[in-house]
């Protein structure tokens, strides 16, 4: 399953907390023109560096599919940062 929601949270030294919920599919749709450009740039890079483009796309797809469940939390004295992918 592709990632559906990315949660980014942080706490500033003054104790101010913020949590940002990013729905992946709508964000990808909004950024789709940039994504198309990124894919084209990637394909050109594959041709330059002699990497099979299909294999690279499949590999990136596998990484994306495996992302749900990833969590990273860092807390240091008064600051904190958290990223969670669901």
């Amino acid at each position: 399953m592709i990632p559906q929601l990315v949660t980014v949270g942080y706490r500033r030294p003054n104790g101010h907390r913020r949590r940002l919920f990013v729905p992946v599919l709508p964000a990808a749709l909004v950024l789709s023109p940039l994504l198309v450009l990124a894919v084209l740039a990637g394909l050109v890079a594959c041709l330059i560096f002699k990497v099979r483009p299909i294999a690279a796309l499949l590999g990136i797809g596998r990484v994306l599919l495996a992302l749900p469940g990833t969590r990273f939390e860092l807390e240091e004295s008064t600051t904190a940062f958290q990223v969670s992918i669901r």
Binding site: V51, G59, L65, A66, L67, G69, E73
Partner: protein
């Protein structure tokens, strides 16, 4: 011995089969139900999904530090497969840089199947470091 083995011996004692036939039947039964290896775990192995890294440190005078990372093992596998796409020229350059840094590892010798096996056996890895000021745990769940 299981019921089928006893049944064969019973048939032998009753004279229904010869000793040779009994031997052949017992051999066939042994092949059908192989004995578990002496060191093998009799319990079915549960499929672990995540690699966890947990760090708690109180060494910093400004306050405690904690890191909590959960990475799906599937992501490690996907990353390893993606890494196999690195062109050989790039690997050679990486090898040279590693050697200059004092890490003589030949990345061209790392085969995808070896890396797969490495990821598979991460299930069994548990690192537990208890220091007076810090605690580090690496395990799968």
């Amino acid at each position: 011995m299981n019921d089928q083995g006893r049944q064969i011996l019973q048939m032998l004692s009753e004279g229904k089969i010869t000793a040779d036939e009994a031997e052949r039947l017992l051999d066939a039964l042994g092949r059908q139900q192989p004995e578990p290896a002496p060191g093998a775990n009799p319990r079915p192995k549960t499929r672990l999904k995540y690699l966890r890294v947990v760090v708690h440190s109180t060494e910093d005078p400004s306050g405690p530090t904690s890191v909590n990372i959960r990475v799906p093992l599937q992501l490690l596998r996907a990353g390893v497969r993606l890494a196999t796409l690195i062109p050989p020229q790039a690997l050679t350059k990486v090898n040279e840089s590693l050697e200059q840094s004092g890490v003589p590892i030949d990345l061209t010798q790392l085969k995808p199947q070896d890396l797969e096996e490495l990821i598979e056996h991460l299930d069994d890895v548990t690192v537990d470091i208890n220091d007076p000021g810090s605690k580090v745990q690496v395990f799968c769940e």
